[in-house]
Symmetry: C2
Subunit: 454 residues, 2 copies
């Protein structure tokens, strides 16, 4: 169906619900299935890396006394919780490092959806194909509904990962529950009426709570619908429904156009570096120069960066004293990328921010703003003590659509993130499970394999 047929939005929720209920695994193209495995690997890595974050510790302390049967694992840790609460906590850990995936730089795709599915799969038998299929469909609902109100919805102050994420988790769990189209519409309605998450929370622990609440709330929304709970059948497009109440603009065609012909997960992006996107071009170029010329920090006289003006506004911290501050320092980023040839969580730790060698090199980095330079662009000049001058103009940054992270890149990122939680052999086993997820008889093994050996 083309967009014109949807000028009238009557039935948007039901049309999407029919697609979700009717979709079969054999309809999903191989490259889409593989993208789902890539997102699974990336999301598990982020959750493992975030598992010991104070945000997760405190969420567990807050809800621990209330948890039901030990149905599902807290990824990267030892606790077991009832399934929706495991979804809550794992949604938090998957998003807390802000290192998780994004769709068109807006919605953090996997953190609200996969934790719900992984918890469900430990609770009730689900095959790997069922899980990947439900994941692809959850992402479909999440991104299409989110984009139908983007960017106005986000501009108004909604954290779209929290709001759209609820639909994603509800659709995904609804698929595992085998809901028919009408019940799926009620699941989306029960999700719509829980949609929440304010951008005022950015910079606080509540930001990752949004992903967790989306996972938990969507899980429960689907369970409610499966139990016969009713909502509005037109929750997305109703006059007082999701889109109209939470956004000044709504384009229903985004929800329904090309359903089944293209899959939103194909637009998914993965962050190679554990910091804001504005620093990625500089990091990218510094890693490349260090590798190509096998640079040693002591050989470097000075580094001169030319970057977009926004880079200095957002990440101009000259002397970061903590790991968090170092994520807002282009000077730290350039220095650590040259020394470590990496920019993962380990490169933005408190320890690294205070490392003497790193501080010394950081002091030799200068940065000049240039309005002609774009977001994913940087000019880097490294002047060596022997007088040589190495230059690099970065225009195609790793992790963008022009240069996606390879499967190997994702594996490397996963290993770095999983390092504190899993032994190397266990990490490698989990990588293998993600690549073969579509053929697993029991998808519950994915979550169980993401728990440290006793």
């Amino acid at each position: 169906m083309d967009g014109l047929q949807h000028a009238n939005d009557a039935g948007t929720t039901l049309e999407l619900s029919r697609f979700l209920a009717g979709s079969r695994w054999q309809d999903i193209p191989p490259e889409v299935r593989h993208e789902a495995s890539r997102a699974l690997l990336n999301c598990l890595g982020c959750a493992l890396g975030g598992a010991r974050h104070a945000t997760v510790d405190r969420a567990l302390a807050a809800i621990g006394a209330f948890s039901g049967p030990a149905q599902a694992s807290v990824l990267g840790r030892g606790e077991r919780l009832d399934a929706p609460r495991a979804a809550l906590v794992n949604g938090i850990s998957a998003h807390v490092l802000d290192f998780d995936d994004t769709h068109q730089r807006a919605i953090h795709v996997s953190a609200p959806v996969l934790p719900a599915l992984l918890a469900y799969a430990e609770w009730r038998p689900v095959s790997g194909a069922q899980l990947l299929h439900a994941f692809v469909l959850g992402v479909e609902a999440e991104c299409r509904i989110g984009l139908s109100v983007f960017p106005e919805h986000y501009d108004r102050g909604w954290h779209i990962t929290g709001t759209a994420g609820l639909f994603g988790a509800a659709a995904a769990i609804g698929k595992l529950l085998n809901l028919n189209d009408k019940m799926m519409a009620h699941a989306l309605g029960c999700a719509a009426t829980q949609a929440a998450g304010l951008r005022a929370m950015f910079g606080s622990m509540c930001k990752s709570l949004h992903a967790g609440r989306a996972a938990e709330g969507g899980f429960v929304a689907a369970m409610l619908a499966a139990s016969g709970f009713t909502s509005a059948a037109n929750a997305i497009e109703a006059p007082r429904g999701f889109a109209r109440v939470l956004s000044p603009r709504f384009d229903p065609a985004y929800v329904t156009d090309g359903l089944g012909r293209r899959y939103e997960i194909s637009q998914n992006l993965y962050k190679p570096y554990s910091c804001g996107l504005w620093m990625h071009a500089t990091i990218d170029g510094c890693i490349a120069l260090a590798r190509e010329h096998d640079l040693k920090p002591e050989a470097i006289e000075r580094i001169a960066l030319t970057v977009a003006p926004h880079v200095l506004e957002l990440t101009g911290h000259p002397a970061p004293g903590t790991g968090l501050e170092s994520k807002f320092s282009i000077y730290h980023a350039a220095a650590v990328a040259l020394i470590d040839r990496a920019a993962g969580e380990a490169q933005f730790s408190d320890r690294r921010a205070l490392d003497a060698g790193l501080i010394a090199l950081r002091g030799r980095v200068s940065a000049r703003p240039d309005p002609a330079i774009g977001k994913f662009e940087a000019r880097i000049a490294v002047v060596l003590r022997d007088g040589r001058r190495l230059e690099r103009h970065v225009t195609r940054v790793l992790g963008t659509r022009e240069r996606p992270m390879s499967d190997r890149d994702l594996e490397d990122k996963f290993r770095a993130l999983a390092r504190d939680a899993l032994a190397p052999a266990q990490a490698n086993r989990l990588i293998g499970l993600c690549w073969s997820a579509g053929s697993l008889a029991d998808a519950g093994v994915l979550a169980r394999a993401a728990v440290p050996a006793a």
Copy 2:
């Protein structure tokens, strides 16, 4: 998309939090304490009356498998759930009949707050005074924040009971947890960022889910804050905070003016009749006429109503076939009020809608619209078979501020609502507990006494 943007402007959230954290039980005037007991009695009655509603059955079916320790009772039933989930289910049953209290005809005050408190009080030791105090403060936060964006917030499509209710439950539980002002602000922030509930859901089971989710979400928000979880310290007034994102208008003075000098619970209203407010004047007059003249239905020739035009638009169903339909029939309402001299849930049951004697009298009711008649006004003429004509012009309806329900009225309403759940002696005991709630050593007895004897 993850910039940090806080502008700590007016300090509205912190000023409210300071008041909530600093308030002492001895500060609460006796008449405010008594109003809290009245609201408690009314809320428990509504929950008992709604306990066997299909909405509650299905919510329990959806979440039953996930519940944690048996910490708190499902009111009016036998199940025990973990405390936040008991709050969820009891919030649903307290609101599902739409018979619960309202503040200035906008916010359903108690359903999001008391279920959270009652569940907490079964989980951890709380005195009756602590519970009533926390209740008064929860209502204060709920109503002040809600009114600061009312009516524009509601007009945009938000179910204000769901959104404001979250603050109420968070403030109330936060008080029981003895949070200091900063932690209370984080509790309100964790509530703000879960605020949800769409008016598109009116007429579906999700409407009462909003009250339940507010109770559960507010409970968890306070637990998160108590565990050190952080949110924005200016969650209400921030540029991308609750008020600005969810409403086109925000008047912070509503939140902070006169804190501690007046209490919003004093403005609370109770519904005497289990139907929309537009039918209340007619019911009121019919009950009064039947009582004064000891009318028997067979003595009545016909009834002529003169009502506001809106009454016929909203409640003009001539021949309701179900209990739900009978709530939208001014003819049924007049007839059942004359016969039963009451208009509670029992008067709007499927059985009564199909009762032959009632149908006969209903057929002798006529109604004429008159634009000069107001919402809480009706002219009633009852012509008897013996030729007498009895007239009544109702202008002061029971349950309005001009003529509040008396304590005795509330007891009668409670007994009628509790009838299917509790034996008369048990109902009377619970009434006594409500009136003496402020002196109870263990407030958990309130919820336990609202469970049917085995």
